[in-house]
Symmetry: C2
Subunit: 336 residues, 2 copies
């Protein structure tokens, strides 16, 4: 399968690493030949119709910061659109930075690929939170696959889990910790009795929270995921603006201690149901599947037949996220 | 799809109920026409090539205890083998009682169907714990599908989860609470400080533990599941005798209290890895995904790329288990 990889930051490099690690196995087990024909970052592109040398690609990026410096096949200044016009491919992996203002440039890349009859795999929350149904409809009309497991929960599989593993059930609602950074902060506060500010600083020092933590701590990241789950699993038609969002910056050590005394923990919870789309701090019971610590994500799917089913996994990490992307690609291959 | 249902106890009746509930939806969503052409219990069979009336079948069983009393199409004394010789079908659902001595009669039913080129879906742990690889090999040779999601963890999906949702990862080990009854007993002991005997009695009164609780409390049920997971997910070649098994009957309230003081709980854990097949009481951390209570099952899959991924779900229940059977049937239909 000829693949164009758009975006070569943390997730994109994770994809390259995973391809390198799994190329042989995937070929053996599924007969799928993973061929990266182009990779792009802000600098331009590396293009080779015979397949790029992934070690060399990673080395080039690592040493020079630019894929355009890839020997012989690198080209500075090429845009995603130019590459998609020029190169022969069957599938794109769209992993440019998330933009929740207008979803660009990811949105246009994906629509272009879909309209050209190519499959799309993405981890990109922005366009999915803004115009999921437009993308899904275009994919259906053009008879291509549109897969986005990695957009929610990184290595916590939930999308394909609901669509495939739980295909016998109707999913009625989803309730979960959809952001690892806030889970880390709240868990530490509960354990240490420390203040929000102090714990956030600590998380920033450890690289768990970003320098500008707004997207995480104010619940915006979780709200994007709520939208994706609502549209894709509950088959709703909603966007980011439909979610009621409250973050964790007002949570005090006192409120956490009070909850703990009664056997509860405070977690930032995303709720997805026909009646309610919400991200807010909630009480969860100790001893419940939601009492997980660290940067873990967790989601409980309420089903009509199997009652509640819960998945827990790492919410982030470049290789972890890339593994979800690889599963999507294998799934496309199997159902071709 | 013409289906023969062998076994009409709790799970079998759950399957009938789920078929009744989901028939329309499954037809609409997947184009799959679920047609139950025969159902069997100890009394004999009800057979109708045009499809049985499921309400009437459930009513007959409910009122008379025997499917052989199904009006017009019931026949007393028919065996599974006779029905499989007589009836035209594409798939069997094997849900007769589990037998971990010799796997019969389920084992013969399944092998017969496979050798006749028919698909098999089962929840039956016995034959899978005794001769999984024989069944899997026969299915492969006869180019039919052999699906058994419901055999481990009822409504906690793990088999298809590993094979499909995590297809990009290699599963290195599995660690889990694979038996709901023991989890209930240990959780209650931790909460109430009560003795093992007292808590077991209470669980028996509530119908959570059986009158003869041996299979559950001595770890035999969990050990069967360890074998199934080892063979199917880790691709090992082992049987029940290869598992080291220790149950929970020696656990005292004192040991539970001691663990709790240090932030741990005692759970009956099944471990599946190339180096170790074991069921035994272990310490798990409070705040970890294993700190779940009640009759929940939980399993953590250690993967090469996605680190640890955990699923939690109801370990039993007739409709819950039947939902896993329906997901298997839909999966067979989708990949036909």
């Amino acid at each position: 399968m000829k693949i164009v990889l758009i975006g070569f930051g943390s997730v994109g490099q994770g994809v390259a690493q995973v391809f390198q690690m799994k190329k042989g196995l995937v070929k053996e087990e599924y007969g799928l030949d993973l061929k990266l024909v182009a990779a792009l970052d802000r600098s331009g592109a590396a293009i080779n119709p015979e397949g790029l040398d992934i070690d060399l690609l990673l080395k080039t990026k690592n040493e020079t910061g630019k894929v355009a410096n890839y020997p012989e096949y690198g080209e500075a200044g090429l845009s995603g659109h130019e590459v998609l016009d020029e190169v022969e491919y069957e599938c794109i992996i769209e992993v440019t930075p998330t933009n929740i203002e207008d979803g660009e440039p990811a949105q246009s890349h994906m629509l272009k690929a879909i309209k050209n009859g190519k499959h799309v795999v993405t981890s990109n929350k922005g366009p999915l939170a803004l115009s999921f149904n437009e993308l899904a409809k275009a994919a259906m009309e053009n008879k291509v696959q549109f897969k986005y497991e990695a957009s929610v929960g990184g290595a916590m599989p939930i999308i394909n889990f609901a669509h495939e593993t739980l295909s016998g059930c109707k999913i009625e609602s989803i309730y979960g910790i959809l952001n690892g950074t806030t889970n880390y902060i709240l868990s530490r506060m509960a354990k240490e009795g420390s203040s929000y500010e102090q714990t956030l600083n600590e998380a920033q020092e450890m690289g768990i929270a970003e320098t500008d933590p707004t997207q995480d701590v104010e619940g915006e990241d979780a709200a994007c995921k709520v939208v994706i789950l609502a549209n894709s699993i509950l088959k709703m038609d909603v966007t980011y603006a439909d979610v009621e969002v409250r973050g964790i910056s007002q949570i005090t050590p006192e409120s956490i201690a009070l909850a703990k005394k009664e056997g509860y923990l405070i977690k930032l919870i995303g709720e997805v149901s026909k009646d309610n789309l919400e991200v807010s701090p909630r009480l969860v019971k100790e001893g419940s599947p939601f009492a997980v610590e660290g940067t873990l994500n967790v989601a409980t799917l309420k089903t009509d037949l199997a009652d509640e089913v819960t998945v827990v996994g790492k919410g982030a990490g470049s290789v972890e996220t890339a593994s979800a992307i690889l599963s999507d690609i294998i799934s496309i291959w199997k159902s071709r």
